[in-house]
Subunit: 424 residues, 2 copies
């Protein structure tokens, strides 16, 4: 609402036409993590390009005057957006998006841009730590039921960006081309009762294999895990694709089940584990015979940081840098760009933030990469935006440029420091 | 995905036609809170009633056989749902929803039901604690930017259900009839620079008042709060509606600002505070001259519990109770209903869970209330569902039935215990 009340006042006093620059950044990394992952950029660009008010919506805005309603009726963002690409690492104060246009057109975009970037980046930032912790073993995203029904779809996308292997969410699979994955729940086994009400796990396993082949994954922990594994191999044979375990002390259980499978000759049957896993639990299982992780709640809720703490602030008006001066929230005014410098080994050294219109500063280091790239020009999305798979690969590569301590799961300072160059 | 792979196997072996009962419940209250708030019921009912697969969606499901695709093409839930009404309090193991139908029709609803109930109940449960902490002072929901763009709309709804006064989200206002609220951001003040780039807070205040009248709320902490308050009253006069403070030590600042406003003669000017407030910060300001709270991040993210931990489990097949027996996750099989008993003072004593088809047990207490009500009959929503405002009032009343310790913000046991009666 305040976007619209500000617009009305701005149209009345002429502020609406003033050229301004707004910036998206995060003052800190959630939970003292070492790095964050930028996500949601393609969704932001589409949302900005298509930001419109329908007549039906305008009719609900009864608190606005006719001039403001007319402005909204014809609204179309015609400005410029530059920023970090999707899959880029970020740190405190990284100038993630720089939005240039009139006050009127920029003021309306705060909520939509932040909603998308905060939710997608929160999931991707948490997911990336899980991928690091899994150390090459695949992770399936299965958290749809633990977040809003639409957020589930974009959470699956953000997790895939971060390196998850697949998702249980079919809408995400269809919309974003993410591999889908899913086999059976406990309800499947429990639904196979005999006429007297007694359980019949083997009947459930047999039907699943008949429907989906022996490469399926059978859920073996509905009743007794040892018996479940025996039943699974008895019904499927040693070519069974996998067994899933969704409860208990997963370290001890997977070691026992691996031995049991091997003793039965099912050397290629994989062990899939789930059950409230987060990056710490995943790391804790690194020495155990886990082949695949299934992660739900923790990834879609950002593992303790459900929002990425990004803000959208005006930083320049009519070419003048502006910043609020309230306590404890110091900001540097002025439009900004950023580059990151690297050692010859490819390890990132620091991120240098400089005035948007200045030339790139000399970092004094061997190599550097411009982080700020054009995203929208005159309201249109710049050609050749990277695909989701390209951004996924880009992030996988970027993770390798972090200093070693950047991969630690413990709380500490950001892995890469930001430095302002060229500001007063 | 697993819902659909299970369905395919179930259609092949006949399980799809078996009558089953599924139940939504939470094994525990998030963060050891004392109570939870049921939210999302009307959204669940609409989602179930309208659960369909479009031809476009079916084309993406290339892993399914023709019989399964046909089943989905004609899918329409025709079963029964009973459960707790929206705005009801819940505790561990409360049987929140009881879904009866064939295995095929019930297995497809797990994700959609849980997504809605987990996200809405997480927000409502956190929001309710904030409303209790605010002790009668109004709270504005302003967290849209800190959650997914669609989740923001339903979060505003859940916060209103819990007793929030209004929302900054206009889509929620239009869709659900919630009062909207919003005035100005720091960008408004910062956009009013003089030609030389110097700040002009008074110009910003003047324009806002011209556009929205003196009953508006001016944001006074962009530069210096004392000067901001002076500027606000100088421009608006003593009839100014309110000042908002969005940073700093809010207790000390509000006491100072209240004195300043009173000294200026602005006795009716309200003080609105925001700035990462949660239920604890709200409670901490109880003794300070705060008139209105603005809450963002913490309410839309469930204040440390972004999901309500609800699960959807099969509890009955062909009339036989079923339950998994894995470690540490004991469940009681069989369809259930529940009632809550009260002392003559109206304070809740306990919640009694009993077999769905049994008569109501005698609680031995003066009065009791049936918690399980019919929600869907033969696929159609039961008439006379309560409105959002009715459920909001219902919750406000229900909070008063909690034992005193139920209103504590500290971690502890649930305020009301659940007891099973009539199960083996």
């Amino acid at each position: 609402m305040y976007e619209l009340t500000m617009l009305q006042a701005a149209l009345a006093d002429g502020t609406a036409d003033r050229p301004v620059v707004c910036e998206v950044f995060a003052r800190r990394l959630s939970n003292e993590r070492r790095y964050g992952v930028v996500a949601g950029i393609p969704r932001v660009l589409e949302a900005v390009k298509n930001f419109r008010f329908t007549e039906e919506q305008l009719e609900t805005l009864t608190f606005l005057d006719p001039a403001t309603l007319d402005y909204l009726r014809n609204y179309r963002f015609s400005g410029q957006i530059d920023g970090y690409r999707e899959g880029e690492l970020f740190f405190p104060n990284s100038p993630l998006l720089t939005v240039r246009g009139s006050f009127g057109e920029c003021v309306l975009l705060e909520t939509v841009i932040l909603s998308i970037m905060n939710s997608d980046s929160a999931v991707a930032s948490a997911a990336s730590r899980m991928v690091v912790a899994a150390d090459g073993r695949p992770i399936i995203e299965m958290g749809s039921r633990r977040t809003h029904e639409q957020a589930a779809v974009t959470a699956a996308r953000a997790a895939y960006l971060a390196g998850f292997e697949s998702t249980s969410n079919l809408e995400a699979a269809a919309r974003y081309g993410i591999p889908a994955s899913g086999t059976a729940a406990h309800s499947w086994t429990l639904a196979h009762v005999n006429d007297d009400g007694s359980a019949n796990e083997k009947a459930a396993f047999k039907s699943q294999i008949e429907a989906h082949g022996v490469k399926t994954t059978l859920l073996v922990d509905t009743f007794d895990i040892t018996q479940g594994v025996n039943n699974a191999i008895e019904v499927a044979g040693v070519e069974l694709g996998g067994v899933r375990i969704d409860s208990g002390n997963l370290g001890a259980i997977t070691r026992r089940v691996r031995k049991q499978l091997d003793d039965l000759g099912a050397h290629n049957t994989k062990i899939v584990v789930s059950s409230d896993l987060d990056e710490f639990a995943i790391a804790g299982l690194r020495g155990d015979p886990v082949d695949v992780y299934g992660v739900g709640t923790s990834v879609v809720t950002g593992s303790g940081a459900p929002t990425a703490s990004m803000v959208y602030k005006i930083v320049e008006v009519d070419g003048h840098p502006v910043a609020k001066r309230s306590e404890a929230k110091k900001s540097v005014g002025g439009a900004k760009r950023a580059l990151r410098s690297y050692r010859s080994s490819g390890v990132a050294i620091e991120e240098i933030i400089f005035p948007f219109d200045s030339e790139e500063p000399d970092t004094g280091h061997l190599s550097s990469k411009m982080l700020t790239v054009p995203l929208i020009r005159d309201g249109e999305i710049v050609d050749k935006q990277p695909s989701l798979d390209e951004s996924r690969e880009y992030l996988a590569h970027s993770i390798k440029t972090l200093p070693w301590e950047g991969l630690a799961l413990t709380r500490d300072e950001p892995a890469v420091h930001t430095r302002y160059v060229g500001f007063e």
